[in-house]
Amino acid sequence: MGSKNKIERFKHSLELDENLALHLKGWKIQKISWLFILGMVVLTALGLFGQGPLSKQHVAQNNIAFEYERFSRYSKETVVRLQLKDRKGAARIAIPFSYIEGFRLESVVPEADQTDMLEEGFVYTFTNSTEKEKDMIIHFYLYPRKAGRIQGTWTVNQSDFKLSHFIYP
């Protein structure tokens, strides 16, 4: 089996520099590169570059849960999903300026009843005057402004949640 895969070597009359050593090295590099490319395809499918199990992040405490994509790509929309369960009274969500510097906030669905720019950052207030809506889901649609790591601590009704993203260029 060893001799079957051994490269043929012989003398020839052509004025030609084959550089067999280069070919052998090249084929080895080629094989490794193909494995690397295959690995990248698998990791991409799994969400290493966004949209997959490797990227999905879930953070929860005190009946408040965040779901967001840990990995995303530049100028690709990303969504932060916030779920509030059994809420009493208004929901107050503060997004720090450091986070907003990294993202352009395209829209908030549903729209907040009140939006303020305070020292702590952008504050979105969702009142619950009827006391009927105990459970609420809010979607924040964001576009990355830059590549690299973007992180910030959101405050939802006095509970802190650290959100961290890596944006590929």
Partner: protein
């Protein structure tokens, strides 16, 4: 992102990728290769221009790509090793009518490719009419016949 960085990154990425794919993907345009090149072209355009469709950006990207091409051409002429790395080297794949199977397998070439090249260039019918077949740097196969004696 700066047009220079975009242009350089994409150019080098494609250069390395096509080297890894192997020579035949460049010279032999089958339907599969045609579709691949078409799609790669479209994806590359998006990556090069991003969301900036101004004439200025387009011209800058074109200038960057041409500059890199020029630079590589100059460097290849000066540094033989770079030339070998980027362009590769020719490889004999048939010797005195005998197909060199290991070389052909590693290069992604089969006997049909060689016979096709022989028919097209010399009208040959059989492998034993070929003295040498060389897989050239650009992916083409050149056929050297036996001297008429």
């Amino acid at each position: 992102m700066n047009p220079t960085i975009r242009g350089v990154a994409i150019y080098i990425f494609l250069l390395v990728l096509f080297r890894i794919l192997g020579k035949r993907s460049l010279s032999q345009i089958t339907t599969f290769d045609f579709v691949l090149l078409l799609i790669v072209g479209e994806a590359t355009q998006q990556a090069l221009l991003g969301d900036d469709f101004s004439i200025t950006n387009s011209l800058l990207v074109i200038i960057v790509l041409m500059s890199i091409d020029l630079l590589f051409s100059q460097l290849k002429g000066t540094f033989n090793l770079l030339d070998r790395f980027v362009e590769g080297a020719p490889l004999i794949i048939v010797e005195h009518g005998k197909a060199l199977k290991v070389r052909m397998k590693k290069s992604g070439v089969d006997e049909e490719d060689v016979l096709e090249a022989a028919r097209v260039s010399h009208g040959f019918e059989r492998m034993n009419q070929i003295k040498y077949a060389v897989l050239e740097r650009d992916g083409n196969i050149s056929i050297i016949p036996f001297s008429p004696q």
